[in-house]
Symmetry: C2
Subunit: 342 residues, 2 copies
Amino acid sequence: MAVSGRQTGRPTLEEVAARAGVGRGTVSRVINGSPRVSDRARAAVGQAIAELGYVPNRAARALAGARTDAIALVIPETESRLFAEPYFLDIIRGVSAELADADMQLLLTLIRSSKERQRFEQYLSAQRVDGVLLVSVHGDDPLPDLARELGVPAVLNGRRSAGERVAYVDSDNVGAGRSAVGHLTGRGRRRVATITGPLDMYVARCRLDGYRQGVEAAGLPADDRLVAAADFTEEGGRRAMRELLDRCPDLDGVFAASDVMAAGARGVLREAGRRIPDDVALIGVDDSAVARLMDPPLTSVRQPIEEMGRRMARALLQEITGPGPEPCRVVLPTELVVRDST
Amino acid sequence: MAVSGRQTGRPTLEEVAARAGVGRGTVSRVINGSPRVSDRARAAVGQAIAELGYVPNRAARALAGARTDAIALVIPETESRLFAEPYFLDIIRGVSAELADADMQLLLTLIRSSKERQRFEQYLSAQRVDGVLLVSVHGDDPLPDLARELGVPAVLNGRRSAGERVAYVDSDNVGAGRSAVGHLTGRGRRRVATITGPLDMYVARCRLDGYRQGVEAAGLPADDRLVAAADFTEEGGRRAMRELLDRCPDLDGVFAASDVMAAGARGVLREAGRRIPDDVALIGVDDSAVARLMDPPLTSVRQPIEEMGRRMARALLQEITGPGPEPCRVVLPTELVVRDST
DNA sequence: CTCTACTGTGGGAGCGCTCCCACGCCGCTT
DNA sequence: AAGCGGCGTGGGAGCGCTCCCACAGTAGAG
């Protein structure tokens, strides 16, 4: 009953051909969905495949053909520390869902050192994947350009700058900031501050822009003392909140560019005796578990993360099969989730 | 300057051999670290490789040899919903770290439907990976046994039952329960309840066993009314907490088998006017972000998740190279992280 | 009735490796 | 002095596929 070992004879295409009474070429054509096959042959091959339980050998395929049926999802460790972690899992979910339908494999690559980065660059240049998905938000990340030079299709999650030339899927971060501030001002807040992410990240600058637009739209005066830069971490959020409280004790609303920073801010506000939302309304971005479980539950701007993953995968698959002239540029809308903190 | 396209001539082993003035066999031996090579040849080959920027072709290797240099990490979607999500990211981190050193690829497979499950089973039987890492906590999961039958090395994260026959890396869930309850009783709590995970999961039963041991160790009477089963979700935690409060209004401590359930419990306790920790001390498991950010910050039992990932990968690599007679059975200790909820 | 233009087909030639056999060459024993 | 074992080596065979060329058969055009 037990299979005898690793080398156990899996049926080959040749055997399928023999059983179906056709040539190798025909079987190959059937498998790859070529139209140039008679119905009779197709049926015979289909049956032989079923009877033999034939599964094509990927390695042979990759060697003979020019593709590998695999794509890499690259997550630089720096990012994974910054973002709320569930973010990546949702991205992975979306990517994986889309890939499964295309029968492609997902290769996950975490890059946490320059050595690993180098190894991955080798990978890329060795054409060992058909394409790459890059979570790349730092403006100076060279990986996307490297991929382009090597002719490896690539799709980014997020942009590195306004003029991003590589295909990307992003969420509407400006809109997120704008609607967050709009929500705050809509509830009568007049002194709305913001805690930003690191400003070398385009995503952080976008959310800040959105904040400014929101302030202006409400007819409030712009005041740079209401802006404090942080780094997407809880501790950064604490520091920024202290700073803001120091500079503008009269603030009555805070837009934190991430839930995690909002959590830090909440701690400081509480220590300072400010009630949420009574004295200060607080809003974050991500709609993560943290937001739901915080006390009080945090109003937050939701990004369609899983959908971004899906779209990225779809865009990449398309670029692999037929590289269109225009790289994919998708910006997905965000959505306000109102809870008790505002 | 630009590389001309996808097919651009990457150097092959043959070219390296020519340049180094040796035969193909010798180059192959150098690359694979065979000792049967003279220093002179080794040096020449090394130089040729460097000059040409040679990177071996994986597909060719996989086809010729019997291995693929890739392993799969399988995450059933059911699990990913149940566990706190950061759990998987930490596992992935550990696995990835260990794999990078071995120059192995990590293939991530999310299984969310029976169709995808079937596809993965095909994968397995097609020997397309050298081994599998399975996150498998349900007692009836057939995947581990399938892998065994197919002769594909497998390592589980968690056990399906006490008599697990497949190699595994788990954390000391009994110890986790025991120390959690010990901590509670150590602080003078006498009526300690528990909210368990789904009892068809071994991990949930273990934590419950630990709870019982802790209660007994403290010389307290066992009382089944203090035990409420839930399902590792926040809502489940809420329900269970209501139940407990109903049955035993005099309880003064709660051990929730996950942080997320503890979060649910906290909400109910607060609604019932119980102060934490003054009236009821609360403790969870996972030491997740949720615990840190909860209000009050939640005391929790930490599992060394990333280390588990690392150990799994190491065990699998070992099993791949030389299948020892004894499957790996590792149980890692947990650690109490005390915060303000107790 | 021949000529062209398909469409469906079989099978050769590789893809770039690893495995392994066979061969020289060395230093050692008898 | 001839014989022996080993080491380092070269290169053939083959892994299972895809690509593509060549060929039969059929059908339509002249």
